[in-house]
Amino acid sequence: MEPLLKVENIEKTYDGKKVLNGISFEMEKGNTKVIIGPSGTGKSTLLRCVNRLSEPEMGKVILDGQVVLDKTVEKEPRIDLNAIRSQVGMVFQNFNLFTHLSVLGNVTLGLTQVKGMKRKDAVERAMIEIDRVGLADKKDAYPALLSGGQQQRVSIARALAMDPKVILFDEPTSALDPELIGEVLQVMIKLAKEGMTMLCVTHEIGFARSVADEIIFLDEGKVLAHEPPEQLFSNNSSARIRTFLKKISELYGGE
């Protein structure tokens, strides 16, 4: 079977420094993959390269048979990037909600503006997702008056409403107070179990252990390991990986 998402040999340079140095991986539909690795190692950059919010110099990305990026050919075919991006959800560390819009407004904006849905249908669709993240009673609230955990759940609903083929999470719980992390992780675990395809940068080892099909360990722009959690967390991993895992379990209290 063709993988849902195929990322091949991505290279990205910032200021003469190779931030991503030949990254390849594939995701099956319904998979959850977790990306971990030290700070500044290119995790966020990699996610942004998947939907071309950052432009890599080399590599190829295929989503569900559609070419998203192809630097292997002289002349790339015409690609409707906005159409592609509307199929790739993205959840950010800082939520990035639209502050002038209510919860409902945040979730419907993409539906009316990108998908061209009628207002009434958009509201109906949005309410399903808002309910799914447990915020139906907050639908008219504005972002500034919500807790961090609630804001992040809204941003997940915003991504879900677009009916994405895959959702990219970039450290969705890193900006949250410890007591708010759980409510966001619960939503993510539920999504993973319901069969959503998810690519998550996170240091929540508990989450990685319980729902990730595979973990990608990124280090200095390279994939150092790509294996199921049991294997990565076993003692057979390289010293580099074990040191890092020990450090984050101290920091995030994962173990």
Partner: protein
């Protein structure tokens, strides 16, 4: 005896004051309107434009902010005399573009104060850059711009008085006519005019404050900040 006859003359000249006031308000709206229409693309060019757009927008801003209003008026009216521009057209170009330069700074500041993450989020759900500007950036920028924009309004209602130098019959010029017909009772007449400008400024700022409150979003920007600038 003399003051009372002065008061009499002012009383009898009310149609001139009224017509001057209406003209001042109309000019103010016209100049600010031209200012908004030009300032929004100028500020967007300065932020999102390519090198040459950015450069041209900055040159425009620097020139029109850097020149005195009277110099601009003379340039557009007497300088373009060959083209036979009417006083109103010359005044609208001079004052409107001057206001655009100031307003572009206001809008640029407002846009830049919006966290860039929102643009990224908008692009990530598949919005084009233009759509994101229209649906995400501008609605917030307008709200953030209201308090500084009220300042621009307060300046503009006063600055309409400059255009009497190109022969437009606005409040100041009507005042001169009244003075001429009142045997030189200048103090009284110009005091009335001063009161009218104060009243217009106050009304305008009051309306801006109301608008700001009406558009206020819970937890976002500050409602009523415009009123504090009186």
């Amino acid at each position: 005896m003399e003051t009372s006859s002065g008061l009499m003359i002012i009383w009898e000249s009310w149609p001139m004051f009224l017509s001057g006031t209406i003209t001042a308000v109309q000019l103010c709206i016209l100049f600010l309107g031209v200012g908004v229409v030009v300032a929004v693309p100028v500020s967007l060019s300065q932020i999102y434009g390519g090198k040459s757009l950015k450069f041209s927008a900055s040159v425009f801003e620097q020139v029109f902010r850097g020149l005195p209003a009277l110099v601009l008026l003379f340039l557009f009216y007497f300088g373009l005399a060959e083209l036979d521009v009417s006083p109103l057209v010359a005044a609208t170009l001079a004052m409107g573009l001057r206001s655009a330069a100031y307003q572009s700074q206001i809008f640029r500041g407002a846009i830049l104060s919006i966290d860039s993450g929102q643009m990224v989020a908008a692009r990530s759900i598949g919005m084009s850059r233009i759509r994101a500007i229209k649906c995400v950036i501008l609605p917030q920028a307008i709200r953030l711009a209201i308090p500084p924009w009220s300042n621009e309004f307060a300046n503009m209602i006063k600055d309409t008085s400059y255009v009497f130098v190109v022969g437009i019959i606005e409040l100041m010029r009507q005042g001169r006519y009244v003075v001429a017909g009142s045997f030189g009772n200048a103090l009284l007449v110009y005091s009335v005019i001063a009161l009218i400008y104060l009243f217009l400024t106050y009304c305008g700022l009051f309306l801006m404050g109301r608008l700001s409150k009406k558009l206020a979003i819970p937890g976002f920007a500050s409602a009523g900040a415009a009123m504090e600038r009186i």
